[in-house]
């Protein structure tokens, strides 16, 4: 336990696996219910009693979602949006975090503080003047406009998260890099980034998912149906006061899959062992 070399005792194993299972249940149970609802048609969604042994399951809702809605298109747009906005935010954030952790200059602390102030005005009110700004630049109802709107919350996030990770990296490596005559960019790309890969991957994952799930800016800025993002599309299932539970839950499940895939891929970077050998080198 906690990286000891001794094997875990049976009791410790029980604790570990038991806890993991509990966490999994905690995380999954509501989603199981979403999944179950997505498989029910019409009034069957109200059959709470069948939660453990459901009957009358059908793929009708999934078929309906694919036929009647442009869910594929929504996922495409959301993926593109999240990808670009994450890449942009990461680039800016990596450089900024590097600057804050490895350089000293006047105004550094003030800047660090100021970055947090991007969050002081809640989005629910900030979106109006932000819309005015983007309108001035003719960016309303454009893809880049929405990307830029997302940068306003992604950049501070990536910067600060990466700051946290950069701070944990061993000084000796940077020193030895400098001694070897490495340029500052070289230190960043050859030493820091590889070591901070778990941090970068994490920042990427959360920046991606936040952009993916973002609703308000997308709703305000995008009026063209062809550029609808996934959250906007899913809200379309709230038809007046009669919610279409089945199709909405089906859309939610479909929506999880690409992101789950992304997460499983990105996990490769959150792996112990990248620092082994680096210090000795």
């Amino acid at each position: 336990m906690i990286f000891g070399s001794r094997r875990r005792s049976p009791f410790q194993s029980l604790v570990v696996y038991g806890s993991l299972l509990s966490f999994s249940l905690f995380a999954i149970f509501p989603v199981y219910w979403i999944f179950l609802t997505s498989l029910k048609k019409g009034r069957d969604v109200f059959n709470t009693a069948e939660i453990l042994f459901p009957v009358k399951l059908t793929l009708f809702n999934y078929a309906q979602v694919f036929k009647q809605n442009e869910i594929i298109r929504w996922i495409e747009v959301s993926t593109l949006l999240a990808t670009i906005s994450t890449l942009l935010a990461l680039s800016v954030g990596i450089l900024a975090a590097y600057s804050l952790t490895h350089f000293r200059y006047r105004g550094r602390r003030v800047l660090a503080l100021a970055i947090f102030f991007s969050y002081v005005i809640p989005k629910g009110l900030l979106f109006i003047p932000l819309f005015l700004v983007l309108n001035q630049f003719g960016l309303v109802d454009t893809f880049m406009g929405l990307v830029l709107a997302h940068e306003t919350f992604s950049v501070p996030f990536c910067t600060w998260l990466l700051y946290g990770y950069f701070k944990t990296l061993p000084k000796e490596l940077v020193d030895s890099g400098r001694i070897d005559g490495c340029s500052p960019m070289g230190i960043l790309s050859r030493i820091l980034l590889p070591l901070a890969a778990p941090g970068v991957a994490t920042a990427a994952i959360f920046s991606f998912t936040t952009s993916w799930n973002e609703f308000l800016y997308a709703a305000t800025l995008i009026t063209n149906d062809r550029m609808m993002t996934l959250p906007l599309g899913v809200s379309g299932f709230l038809t007046a006061d009669t919610y279409q539970w089945g199709p909405m839950m089906a859309a939610a499940i479909i929506a999880i899959l690409p992101m789950l895939l992304l997460f499983i891929l990105a996990q490769r970077y959150i792996v112990q062992g990248l620092t082994i050998g680096a210090v000795k080198g």
Partner: protein, 429 residues
């Protein structure tokens, strides 16, 4: 990430950037825009309206971007557009937007087209006209769709207890008491908060002989014995457990879900539940009786709602916009749309209440409700204050203070009146 993958990242980045630019390029800006902030029950109906608009556009050789979304999307979008003065050319919106649009000086006089359409299909209903007419008899907008409410009754539960179908609030409470059997079924699924609840509360106060506003629309007359009667009726029923406790926090789908899942004996709602029952639950449909909205000692009142076609004065194509309105308000289109909506909305044109659609037993009470329908502000005119009050659900908040915070009725009424006075002051500035 080693160096080579860093370069890979750069390439990927550039590729993705190029892809994004191609997405941007595809969306060329159209000449006209229409926004629809109206929830449609069935996608097909929304498609119908869209088809009218697009056909018109093709016929005129005009590009139009048509956008219909839920109000979660439309509210912030319209607000941002109001602030930046970038509203579209035509909008289908609820009348509660009109005060804001008026204050932002975005209203366009559409009296010409309104008078023309008023000559069709028997003309607009009185309430619809009242909702869109300015004090100097000009039209702010064109009525397009209305709504009304009726009562849904679980006849099977009543029959089991040998009870007659109630018609007044008091009788409804009595019957609810008899069939109340939580957690299997709650007697009365009466919505008391949100827009639905606001409509119900208004109606109840009026049915006891009270009113929120005076006949000239200038005074706030909420503080009255009649208001207290209405509040106490709900309060006693709630405390007794005849209403699910959740009614104080339901959203607009709350009473729908309660009735549709078989957990409520009585609810009041628009035709949306009937539409759902017909499509999804024939058993429950057969066990249901559909009747007029309940009455009080001083009469029967139903708060209606209106959705209007609005043309902002910032549009570059006012004549085109009016022509579009003329087209989608045509007799054929209105009849087709009304029928397709299956009773979810009621017509704003008097003659349309005679459509065969309304003969169905599940929709007849809606058609019959016309004499009882009134609009925010009644017995006074539809004022900005009345619409603001409705949008902020002041009376519902008052009810919630009594039921949830356990305030005394007096305190709750006083707070509501104070809030209304504050709004009145801010509107007059």
């Amino acid at each position: 990430m080693r160096i080579s993958s860093f370069k890979k990242m750069c390439l990927l980045f550039l590729f993705v950037l190029a892809a994004s630019l191609s997405v941007t390029a595809q969306t060329a800006r159209p000449k006209m825009r229409m926004w629809v902030d109206h929830p449609f029950l069935v996608k097909a109906t929304e498609g119908l309206l869209k088809s009218y608009v697009l056909e018109w556009a093709i016929g005129k050789g005009v590009d139009i971007e048509y956008s219909q979304n839920s109000d979660k999307i439309m509210y912030p979008r319209i607000d941002a557009a109001i602030e930046s003065k970038t509203l579209p050319d035509v909008m289908l919106i609820n009348i509660s937007w009109l005060p804001k649009l008026q204050r932002a000086k975005l209203v366009q006089d559409v009296t010409d087209i309104a008078k023309e359409l008023n000559g069709n299909m028997g003309g607009f209903t009185k309430g619809a006209i009242a909702a869109v007419m300015t004090p100097d008899s000009k039209y702010n907008a064109i009525p397009f769709l209305g709504s009304s409410e009726m009562a849904y009754v679980r006849k099977d539960l009543l029959d089991a207890k040998g009870l007659a179908i109630p018609d007044t609030w008091e009788d409804t409470v009595k019957a609810a008491r008899a069939i109340n059997n939580p957690p299997t079924v709650w007697g009365w699924g009466h919505q008391v908060v949100e827009f639905d609840g606001e409509r119900h509360n208004h109606a109840m106060i009026l049915s006891y002989g009270g009113a929120i506003f005076s006949k000239d629309g200038q005074s706030i007359t909420l503080d009255s014995p009649q208001t207290r009667q209405a509040i106490n009726l709900i309060k006693d029923a709630y405390t007794e457990g005849l209403l699910p406790k959740d009614v104080v926090t339901w959203d607009s789908a709350g009473n729908n879900n309660a009735y549709q899942s078989g957990k409520a004996g009585f609810v009041e709602n628009t035709g949306s539940i009937a539409v759902w029952l017909k499509a999804n639950d024939p058993t429950l449909f057969n066990n249901s009786v559909f009747k007029l909205f309940p009455a009080g000692p001083s009469g029967r009142f139903i708060q209606g709602d209106v959705w209007v076609l609005f043309v902002p004065n910032t549009t570059k194509y006012p004549d085109m916009a009016k022509d579009l309105i003329r087209n989608i308000s045509s007799k054929d289109n209105q009849e087709e749309l009304m029928t397709a909506m299956g009773g979810f909305r009621v017509p704003v044109y008097i003659d349309l209440t005679k459509l065969p659609l309304w003969q169905d037993r599940s929709l007849k009470p809606l058609a019959d409700s016309a004499p009882f329908v009134y609009y925010p502000g009644f017995p006074g005119p539809v004022t900005a204050l009345a619409l603001e009050e409705f949008k902020q659900t002041i009376v519902s908040q008052m009810m919630a203070h009594v039921l949830v915070d356990k305030w005394t009725v007096d305190r709750a009424i006083a707070e509501a009146v104070a809030t209304l006075k504050r709004i009145q002051v801010s509107l007059n500035n």
